[in-house]
Symmetry: none
C-alpha cells in the first residue's frame, strides 16, 4: 500500500488532509515541523510527500534541499500564492503546487495523478514477493526464477491463500485439463515450489484432496 508523508504545522489543516488521503485508503505519517519532517523523510521510504512551505524550524524549500532521496515526488501545499513562490516550488523539485484553501477532491485527484506510476499487482507471502506486472518473484529481495508451470501454479496458490485447492482444480487452471488423469505432475511442481521458495511448512498437503498454502 502506498504511503504518504503529510507535512503541515496547522493541526486542523493537517487533519483535513489526513481525512482526504484516508478516503483513498492511503497510509500516511504526519509531521508538524520541518526538522521532524526531514528526519522522517530520510529514515523512511514514502511514495509521496505533501509539503507545506511555511513551517517551524525548517521551511519546505530547505527540506527539499537537504533531503537525501531526491526521487520522492513532492506536492507543495501552501497558502503562499505569489507567482514567484509557486514558480520556485515547481522548479525546486515539486511535481505540483496547490494553493490553500484547496478542494479536497482536487487534492485527491492531483495525488492520484502522481501516484499512477506506482500501481502494481503485487502479492506478498512471508518473505516472498510476487509482482505480476513484471512477472518476477523475490525471496528476501532476491529474484527467484520460476519455470512457466511453477510460476502459474504459485500464482494460483497465492491468490488462494488459506484455501484448499483440489488437484482437479489445479489441473484445470494451470494445465487446462478437464479429465481426472492420475499423474504425479502436480506433486512434482509442488515439490519444486517448496524447494525453490522454502515453503516446506507452508504448502500443506491435504491428503486425497489437494494442497493449501497457509502461514
Amino acid at each position: 500500500m502506498s504511503k504518504i508523508l503529510i507535512v503541515e504545522d496547522e493541526k486542523n489543516i493537517s487533519k483535513l488532509i489526513q481525512d482526504t488521503v484516508s478516503l483513498a485508503n492511503y497510509e500516511f505519517d504526519c509531521s508538524f515541523d520541518g526538522e521532524d519532517a526531514l528526519k522522517k523523510i530520510n529514515e523512511n521510504t514514502y511514495d509521496l510527500i505533501l509539503l507545506d512551505i511555511m513551517l517551524p524550524k525548517l521551511d519546505g524549500f530547505q527540506i527539499v534541499e537537504q533531503m537525501e532521496n531526491k526521487n520522492v515526488p513532492i506536492i507543495f501545499l501552501s497558502a503562499k500564492n505569489d507567482v514567484s513562490t509557486i514558480v520556485k516550488g515547481l522548479k525546486s523539485g515539486g511535481k505540483d503546487y496547490i494553493t490553500k484553501p484547496f478542494e479536497p477532491l482536487e487534492l485527491l485527484a492531483r495525488i492520484e495523478l502522481r501516484m499512477e506510476n506506482k500501481k502494481e499487482k503485487e502479492y506478498n507471502f512471508k518473505n516472498i514477493k510476487i509482482n505480476e506486472n513484471t512477472r518476477t518473484v523475490y525471496k528476501n529481495e532476491e529474484i527467484v526464477y520460476l519455470a512457466p508451470k511453477e510460476y502459474e501454479l504459485f500464482i494460483l496458490l497465492i491468490k488462494n491463500q488459506n484455501r484448499v485447492l483440489t488437484r482437479d482444480e489445479i489441473l484445470n487452471k494451470v494445465w487446462d485439463i478437464n479429465a481426472q488423469i492420475e499423474t504425479r505432475t502436480v506433486d512434482y511442481h509442488i515439490q519444486q515450489l517448496r524447494k525453490k521458495l522454502d515453503l516446506k511448512e507452508n504448502i500443506v498437503t491435504v491428503n486425497k484432496i489437494g494442497y493449501i498454502l497457509k502461514e
Copy 2:
C-alpha cells in the same frame, strides 16, 4: 526543439500563451477549434498540448477521447474552475489543470515541469551508460556502436529493468509486429547485446516467456 500545441479559441488569450511559451523558446502551433486541434494532434508529434476545454465543434474532453497517441502530455487551461471539472480533467489524462486567469510565469513553470520527463534521457546500467539524446552507448566510458534494432531493443530492456519482457511485447515495441510469428530474430539481437555489452549474466532468459534485464 520541443513543440507545443496551443488549443485556445479566444484570440487574445491564445496570443498571451504564445508569448509565454516563446519566452522559453518553445516552438508551437495554434488551434482555434476542436476539430482542427484533433486533426493537428493526430497528424503531428507534439511534446505537449495546452488544451482549453470550452471550444467550438469539439470540447477538450472529446479531443482527449478521440486522439490516437495517448502518450502526449496534456495541460488543461480553462476558465471552468469547479472541482468536478478539474477532477475530471486530471482523471481523463491531463497532467495538470490550470485555471484562468493564470499567471504566465506559473504557466511556464508548469510547462517546463511536464517537459522535464522528456529530458531524462540518460540511463545507467552497471558499467554501461546510454544517452538517448545523442544516441550513444558507452561501456566503461568507451563508445559502443549498436545497430538500429539492437539499440531499440536495448532501450526497451533498460527502460524495463527487472521486468520480464515477453517476446510478443518485444516484437510489438521494437518490430511493430502484432502477429505471433515464430522467429529467431529476437534471440539473435539479444545475443548481439549480450556480446557487445558483456551482458551474458544480466540478460536472463525466461523460458517460454521472454527476457529480463537484471543486475
